[in-house]
């Protein structure tokens, strides 16, 4: 019972969703929209589990006096601040909720994103070494496209922009097309195995 019922539910909902794809009728589209809305509703309840896990983890850290407990206080304070500020001052532009977004969330996430500029350089420096034929191909292709993307590159090697565009429009596109055909077959097979219950890691 503990394994058959979930397996049956996944099979039935999976079949309905797969068949629905081919039916444009109003009712079928309504079924699709409703299923997505229901996923969102279940998602609302699961966020409670998520926040419970987050809070529980850090409360345990504080009780266990682990190293760095003061940081757990900061995390819980941040969480509380955002929820309380939304309740008390709403979520419009002037609210403390949005101030939290502008002063904390936005700058930190933008800066984390900006770290990529440093990491792409260190990855290129460390990884693009001519160890093997394949590594050399990777490195040469990257260098050519990099030079082709900026006006200075065109000055260094005239015509490099054409080669760079060619690399992007022919081999790169063909590679993406071959990979996506493989991904399509693999993804569809994986989804089918889940629906049929052949692959059910959570029910073992």
């Amino acid at each position: 019972m503990q394994r058959e019922l979930p397996r049956l539910i996944t099979l039935v909902t999976g079949m309905f969703m797969a068949i629905q794809y081919f039916i444009p009728h109003k009712h079928s589209e309504q079924f699709y929209q409703t299923s997505l809305d229901w996923l969102i509703i279940v998602g609302i309840f699961s966020i409670v589990l998520g926040i419970a896990s987050l809070v529980n983890l850090h409360v345990n850290k504080i009780q266990r006096r682990d190293a760095g407990t003061k940081y757990s206080y900061i995390l819980l304070a941040g969480l509380l601040y955002m929820i309380l500020s939304a309740i008390l001052t709403g979520t419009d532009q002037q609210s403390f909720f949005m101030k939290g977004y502008i002063a904390v969330l936005n700058p930190i996430t933008s800066t984390m994103f900006a770290l990529l500029a440093f990491y792409i350089a260190s990855a290129a420096f460390r990884a693009f070494r001519a160890r093997s034929l394949i590594a050399t191909i990777l490195l040469v292709s990257a260098v050519v496209v990099m030079l082709g993307r900026v006006p200075a590159g065109e000055d260094l090697i005239p015509g490099i922009a054409k080669v760079s565009d060619w690399l992007l429009n022919v081999p790169n596109m063909a590679a993406k097309r071959a990979i996506s055909i493989g991904l399509g077959l693999g993804g569809s097979a994986t989804a089918l195995k889940v629906v049929l219950g052949i692959e059910a890691p959570h029910l073992r």
């Binding site: 929209q33 997505l36 969102i40 532009q93 949005m98 977004y101 969330l105 936005n106 996430t109 933008s110 994103f113 500029a117 440093f118 792409i120 350089a121 260190s122 290129a124 420096f125 460390r126 990884a127 693009f128 070494r129 001519a130 160890r131 590594a135 490195l139 990257a142 260098v143 990099m146 030079l147 993307r149 900026v150 006006p151 200075a152 590159g153 065109e154 260094l156 922009a161 565009d165 992007l168 429009n169 790169n172 596109m173 993406k176 097309r177």
Partner: protein
């Protein structure tokens, strides 16, 4: 390709060089012109060919973390639309980008003295882009009963007679997310309207095959695309200056790669002898 522990000093040197490559050019004068690519030109020409009063829909889907690459595009396209007296319908299906896009739209509208509700409308944000894009194919009012300022669409002069994508001249999604696929699959895939996209440099190569298959009529890729567009619109700004930073940093990274290989060859020869 795992690095060795002794690699710390080199890594920090690389970081320092990159930081300088971005900081120093900020204080130098703007560089010379940028080569315009056909996929960017086709977006510019398509909008240039529209008559006054036609509506251009701009789904600006990016958040502040991508503003550096996306905002110059939005500003350049808005400048062109307002210069040609086109009307603009803007949405933002990315939750933490809504206020940013709104302030950019207001700033450009004030610069051109455009009136809200008649020359431009901002619909704001609704979650789950796939559903919203599909719903807007039926009627904008389904996902957006009211605009960003909670005015019902039927009370907005510009929205009279504007039901769905059929009443819009073209859709240019300025989009840093993979939501572009939703526009292709659920948008023009189902409802047949001319679609172009302005994406980040990293996403752009993904969409070349959509350009070739005709699902997109134009593609503006990354800051370089924005610089080309700023130049086409005749108002070189942040993007053109940004290209100077790009030139310096690209040349630096290529030099680092070559240096890395020199070190590698020297070490291999030393290990062999």
């Amino acid at each position: 390709m795992a690095g060795t522990r002794g690699f710390q000093l080199e890594r920090h040197l690389v970081f320092l060089l990159i930081f300088l490559a971005v900081l120093v050019p900020l204080f130098l004068p703007a560089p010379k012109t940028v080569r315009v690519t056909p996929e960017v030109k086709s977006v510019y020409d398509r909008i240039e060919g529209l008559q006054a009063g036609e509506i251009v829909m701009l789904p600006c889907e990016y958040d502040p973390s991508m503003a550096a690459e996306m905002s110059p595009m939005t500003m350049a396209v808005l400048r062109q639309c307002f210069r040609k007296d086109l009307r603009v319908l803007v949405t933002c299906l990315v939750s933490n980008g809504v206020s940013l896009v709104e302030s950019e739209l207001r700033q450009m509208a004030e610069e051109w003295g455009r009136k809200y509700g008649e020359d431009y409308v901002y619909l704001g944000y609704k979650p789950y882009p796939g559903i919203v894009i599909m719903a807007m194919g039926e009627d904008f009012r389904v996902p957006f009963p009211t605009d960003y300022y909670n005015t019902p669409l039927d009370e907005i002069p510009m929205m009279k007679g504007v039901k769905n994508y059929q009443n819009v001249a073209l859709v240019l999604t300025i989009n840093s997310t993979s939501g572009i696929d939703y526009w292709i699959i659920y948008g023009t895939g189902r409802y047949k309207f001319p679609l172009a996209c302005a994406s980040t440099a990293v996403m752009a190569p993904n969409y070349y095959n959509y350009l070739q298959s005709g699902q997109l009529f134009g593609l503006i890729g990354g800051l370089r695309g924005a610089a080309e567009y700023e130049q086409l619109v005749g108002h070189p700004g942040k993007a053109v200056k940004g290209m100077l930073v790009q030139s310096v940093s690209h040349i630096l990274i290529v030099a680092l790669i070559l240096l890395g290989n020199v070190i590698f060859i020297v070490e291999r020869r030393r290990r062999r002898s």
